[in-house]
């Protein structure tokens, strides 16, 4: 905390106005004048803080113009810097020159909120499509989401290469597998990728806008649907942000059960990912075995908690599914079996030279690059960044669990595979520990809802990485803004940037699978 505070003070002195946290999370917040917004970014970059998110709010209901927020993280500390824009001058200084992740955040702000980042190198829309009218800014309060949007003619300016032997390969948005849509455009010479451009937004559903039409309680259900494979972590992050806004603390048993759900989600998805990565290099044995293990886990979720992915099991104030001693026994027995089988499969994974040949040195993301791009989750941990909210920003019960976070240095597909393997092992251990020390008591407490202008913030380590929710209540306590930051919003850029460094076209699927980011979580 001290370091960020000092850096800010030296950079802009008294011009930053700090305000006390109106929520319990250790988040430092300050307002700075618009012309100082960029200076803060420079000061933060100097102390190696990372940009976690940047977003905008329409605060017309609060009697103001717009707000631009940048959330920085230095190890375990978060700093939210706000600057106010007047309604008649909807521009703000771009911080993309200092922070690469802002590249897409700011394009998205311009596309959806209609605020222009001054000095941004790329003015093409992001998430928004070229056939939307130019003044269609869905996140503004004046935009009516119930009306059908008129379509206009437009063209997206793809980056294209010219020259002898340059070959353009457009892939998607509809893919051959059962996955979500996204467009990848390669410029290749022979098989060597010179440039990769990603275009996302095909599953834009207007989730952030939809939050504003729902009540706080309904919002938890919507959060659980931001990205189906991360439903527990998303609803947990939303609920924790909501609880932080009103200072509500769920009962201890609910906190431990939430951690149980979160770890089970992590194990199921990581096991599935490992299989999928092997399948992309035609090593299908691991795929089918891992699918079997994953299926066992999700079926147990269904019998014990009523839903295969535990959707809607985390609710504001606690959880909606409890577990009895029989259930604990069932989980423990299954865990013994699954972890034994998993270790056998890891031996196969470890022994196979042909597999290792494919994964080593493929899609390398160096530590410097991961820092610059502000990577999160297992992508960051495979590139030597020791980042995990469960350890650095622990919420109960993780403050009592003593987590070991695997960090590997290579940054290639191989490292991303082995970070997952180690995380699965750690989660096996955590679940055993959680089940052993599960406290008694109620599983939910009544939730207090905000009655006035307030903000809430939470960061949760989902299986992909750090998920951030930032909530803002309007004057009557209604939802004014709900900012969702899935790790995909930043890690997609990591994929795009790491592939053109010496990778070949047929290796792309395995590079992509090793990142395995969410389309839905990014497009919102």
């Amino acid at each position: 905390m001290r370091e960020m505070f000092d850096a800010l003070n030296t950079a802009i002195g008294k011009e930053a106005r700090f305000f006390g946290p109106d929520f319990e999370a250790p988040v430092l917040s300050c307002v700075v004048p618009k012309e100082r917004f960029y200076d803060v970014a420079r000061a933060m970059k100097k102390i190696d803080a990372m940009l976690a998110a940047e977003w905008a709010t329409d605060e017309s209901r609060l009697g103001k113009g717009f707000g631009i927020y940048a959330c920085y993280r230095l190890r375990s500390q978060y700093l939210i810097v706000r600057t106010d824009l007047s309604a008649d001058d909807p521009t703000f200084p771009s911080i993309t020159k200092r922070y690469v992740p802002a590249y897409r955040f700011e394009r998205q702000i311009e596309s959806l909120m209609g605020l222009t980042p001054v000095g941004h190198p790329d003015t093409r829309p992001w998430i928004k499509f070229e056939d939307w009218p130019t003044d269609a800014w869905p996140l503004r309060k004046t935009f009516d989401a119930s009306k059908r949007m008129p379509r206009v003619k437009g063209k997206y300016a793809w980056i294209s290469f010219e020259g002898e032997g340059i070959y353009e390969i457009p892939v998607g948005p509809v893919h051959a597998g059962i996955i979500e849509p996204g467009h990848f455009r390669f410029q290749a010479v022979g098989e060597h990728v010179m440039h990769l451009e990603t275009r996302l937004g095909y599953v834009h559903k207007g989730i952030e806008k939809k939050f504003e039409e729902l009540s706080w309680i309904e919002g938890a259900r919507l959060a659980g649907r931001v990205s189906g494979d991360t439903t527990v972590a998303h609803s947990l992050a939303y609920c924790m942000a909501l609880e932080s806004m009103t200072g509500c603390t769920p009962p201890p048993r609910a906190q431990w059960l939430r951690a149980l759900f979160l770890e089970r989600e992590r194990i199921a998805n990581h096991i599935g990912d490992l299989g999928a990565i092997c399948n992309d290099v035609a090593f299908t044995f691991i795929l089918y075995q891992n699918m079997r293990l994953k299926e066992m886990i999700v079926r147990t979720n269904r019998t014990l908690f009523g839903h295969r992915f535990m959707m809607d099991r985390v609710v504001p104030g606690g959880v909606s599914a409890d577990i009895d001693s029989k259930g604990i026994k069932e989980i423990e027995d299954q865990l013994d079996y699954v972890s034994d089988e998993f270790e056998r499969l890891v031996l196969v994974l470890d022994d196979n030279a042909s597999l290792e040949d494919r994964t080593r040195d493929t899609a390398i993301m160096s530590k410097e690059m991961a820092m610059d791009l502000g990577m999160a989750g297992f992508v960051a941990r495979a590139s030597g960044l020791d980042l995990d909210c469960r350890k650095h920003h622990p919420f109960p019960p993780y403050d009592r669990l003593n987590i070991k976070v695997p960090v590997l240095m290579a940054g290639d597909v191989h490292a991303r595979v082995w970070v997952r393997v180690e995380e699965i092992r750690e989660s096996f251990r955590l679940i055993r520990e959680i089940l052993k020390s599960l406290p008694d008591g109620p599983i939910a407490s009544p939730i207090k809802l905000p009655k006035r202008v307030a903000t809430g913030f939470a960061a949760v380590e989902g299986w992909r990485g750090e998920i951030i929710y930032w909530l803002q209540a309007g004057p009557a306590g209604e939802v004014n803004r709900c900012m969702v930051r899935d790790p995909s919003s930043i890690c997609w850029l990591g994929l795009e940037q790491s592939v053109p460094f010496g990778n070949i076209v047929p290796d792309f699927p395995v590079c992509n699978k090793s990142f395995n980011q969410s389309y839905s979580g990014n497009d919102l």
């Binding site: 390969i169 597998g177 092997c278 290099v281 035609a282 090593f283 079997r292 196979n352 042909s354 070949i504």
Partner: protein, 314 residues
């Protein structure tokens, strides 16, 4: 009792056309068992073919005659090759018309048209597949010729019937040159028929495809013929390896009595060949595409060693 060789010829072609899908079905069954899954059965490829034949063809507007003609050509060359390779009997009337070099040229014609058809529609994936296929072909074909020449040297003939005749009659003891050629031929077969570790016949990932990328635009009857032809190609390559290296049990000139035994031997050998393919495929990941030249380089080296050892040892 003697039998008209034309009847045997006809029977053999029918066996190639009819049993090729079952051989692929057998490989898939074994693969499922090795991965601990239940199988779709031996006859699933037949059901797939029937399904494709009953579907309509969706043709790109800019498809030329090459695109429409290629499936028939692929199927035709596969049938013709099936008539040349001694699978059931040595005494095949058509075998006399073509030696092993012609056979390789037949496969080359099929590949040439398939690569053209891949580029014909103008999609990115088709061209990519064609370019990769040609890269592999340029390396696999010399290696294959080399391997076959090694065998021919040992038998003093490029006629398949005579090669098989000589080896089958036991005039030739086991030679190191043949062992080298055999290893080379296995590697080439994996590359030529698009199996792991060179290509993955079961993938859905367009960017990684070789053979499948060229035929992505095919549908309906066309696709059925292309698929059937590639099943036959696998069958033929394995049969060629069996004929040249382990022909024992094949029917000799004009005997009807040898035929049931020949069919029995063929099925048993194919069963074992399937097992070998599946063992390789289950244990290996697909290699990076730029490792394929190394892989085929080893095949070429093996074939060359075979030839050298022939001159040194014999």
């Amino acid at each position: 009792m003697n039998i008209n060789p034309y009847i045997i010829e006809f029977l053999q072609v029918a066996v190639v056309i009819g049993l090729a899908p079952a051989f692929v079905g057998w490989i898939r069954m074994l693969k499922c068992w090795f991965q601990g899954r239940t199988t779709a059965g031996l006859f699933q490829p037949y059901r797939d073919l029937r399904k494709l034949f009953s579907k309509e063809i969706v043709l790109a507007h800019n498809a030329s005659w090459i695109f429409r003609f290629t499936p028939y050509l692929l199927f035709g060359t596969a049938v013709l090759a099936g008539a040349i390779i001694p699978i059931l009997s040595i005494d095949l009337p058509l075998a006399a018309t073509a030696d092993v070099i012609v056979l390789i040229a037949l496969f080359a014609i099929a590949r040439f048209f398939l690569a053209l058809a891949g580029m014909d529609i103008g999609t990115a994936f088709g061209g990519m597949g064609s370019s990769r296929e040609m890269m592999i072909a340029s390396l696999a074909e010399p290696a294959m010729l080399m391997a076959i020449f090694t065998v021919s040297l040992a038998n003093k003939s490029t006629s398949l019937a005579e090669i098989v005749q000589v080896i089958n009659s036991g005039q030739m003891m086991l030679r190191p040159s043949l062992a080298f050629a055999f290893i080379a031929f296995i590697l080439i077969t994996l590359a030529e028929t698009g199996r792991i570790p060179v290509d993955n016949p079961a993938t859905h990932l367009e960017l990684t495809m070789i053979h499948e990328a060229m035929i992505l635009e095919y549908s309906g009857r066309h696709l059925a013929l292309v698929e059937w032809a590639s099943m036959m190609k696998l069958y033929l390559f394995v049969s060629l390896a069996i004929a040249v290296f382990t022909p024992w049990g094949i029917a000799v000139k004009g005997s009807l009595a040898g035929l049931p035994a020949a069919i029995g031997f063929m099925i048993a050998k194919l069963g074992i060949a399937g097992l070998i393919i599946v063992l390789i495929e289950t244990g290996l990941a697909k290699m990076r595409i730029f490792r394929v030249p190394d892989f085929l380089g080893v095949a070429f080296l093996m074939a060359t060693l075979g030839m050298l050892s022939f001159f040194i040892l014999d």
